[in-house]
Subunit: 305 residues, 2 copies
Amino acid sequence: MAITVVGSVAFDSIETPAGRRERCLGGAATYFSLSASFFTDVRVIAVVGEDFGQEQQAAFNARGIDTRGIEHASGKSFFWEGSYLENLNEAKTHNTELNVFGSFQPKIPDAYRDSEFLFLANIDPVLQRRVREAMPDVKLVAGDTMNYWIKDHKPALLEVLRGLDILLINDTETKMLAGNSNLVQAARAVLNLGPRMLVVKHGEYGATAFFGHDGVAAKTFRAPALPLEEVVDPTGAGDSFAGGFFGYLASQKELTPGAFRRAMFYGSVMGSFAVEEFGTSRLEKLTREEIDVRFNQFRELTHLD
Amino acid sequence: MAITVVGSVAFDSIETPAGRRERCLGGAATYFSLSASFFTDVRVIAVVGEDFGQEQQAAFNARGIDTRGIEHASGKSFFWEGSYLENLNEAKTHNTELNVFGSFQPKIPDAYRDSEFLFLANIDPVLQRRVREAMPDVKLVAGDTMNYWIKDHKPALLEVLRGLDILLINDTETKMLAGNSNLVQAARAVLNLGPRMLVVKHGEYGATAFFGHDGVAAKTFRAPALPLEEVVDPTGAGDSFAGGFFGYLASQKELTPGAFRRAMFYGSVMGSFAVEEFGTSRLEKLTREEIDVRFNQFRELTHLD
């Protein structure tokens, strides 16, 4: 089943202990859709500027991603500059230029309206809510957010959470959103805000899925991350996780507890590839065979037999 | 097969968000042996003072632990006072009184000499090495250490590492010992220092086992920790992990890769119990049935099927 994703398509300048790259193709919707495209049809809603050219478009085309919902505006695309020199787990932002993204008004192409899955990547919760309301018939809605929206835009965010089936955030965001420093208690509090499932991403330690009482009848599940020899660029790891997770779910006929577990593994697998090279490079050259090999590595890493 | 463990038997005064307890029975060798006693015979080498009385002795007796190697000296037992008020993952030490432990000279009872497993709990590496050399015929030797010995007693520690089969330490200690901030690279460097297996404990995220080239033919394995609603007292979690891990190994006829995986799970299981109450309380009243139930919970938490 097709996924529609709304979020940023951007350029990133990134510095890590492995080096520096200027103006890589980036943005949450980009990483998400490249990652999800290995599992299902993906349709993107975003806005870009005149600096978004054939090279960037080709990255989406090569993965068969529907970009009719990417609006081309006059001006420059969203730009982010950051580094991970001291801590690979946390980006230090040096510069953010919203550019055309500052006045983004998501428009949903008619061809997207039969999408059964909707992913609200990390953008202003007011926009997330608008897209959610414009697509009332989707079967499953997942979303992401970040500390900035939790801290300064909580009322708008809480309205989004009420309309979400699945929320994917990290440890710090979970505890901040709940105002509770115990992860299990915080997870339960977040599940009371609306989502039926909460995926908490632990960075190099993997991710845990918590389920609410009215959610799928599934038990708490923890997927590992692959212990990696070298992390070249952590940018987009969380969005790639979300793409693998939600893309796999959208490819399933039935959303059984087992499907959610395998989806957690595929999320972790896609995150582990994303960080191996700068920007979207690794995802752009990835093959489905590599994904399956790594899935089995994850199984070997965690299974007793 | 029997395990001999050398380490501290102590009194701890502990403050956590859940409350405060004065002079609980504590010490690495205490937690280790209580935990390991659910799987195999355990023999302790330690020194205590006149404040170690019938109540403390009873805790060991109830679990059938051989305490003939606990020397009774005049003076007071090792005493530690610490708190976890700001961070449950890291103790803040308020007071350490070595007391009789300051002049500890481990003596190995003849009845311990046929032990096939030896555990060197976190004490001065000079003492660890002395015990190791006095028991040359053991089949498997594991040990623990801490940042203090890594930082200020590295030459002595490196000699201990050369005689170890298995080292159990945490993330920070692994990176500090290797002088490398990437866990996988650090683990490989530590494996080059002697141990054939390295168990890195990640606190609330579980633990990872790394194997050297000349170690058991086993692949990297990650055991989870149980997401816990409440951590009452983290003291002794690592020693309880070591006890469950090494105790289970000692109970096995053959040290297969599968046995090491299950041992990682049992370690994590025992750590999860230890933190549920202050001091050794939870371990003292634990049953083997509870251990097996939780083992299955860990399997459900991580296994796809």
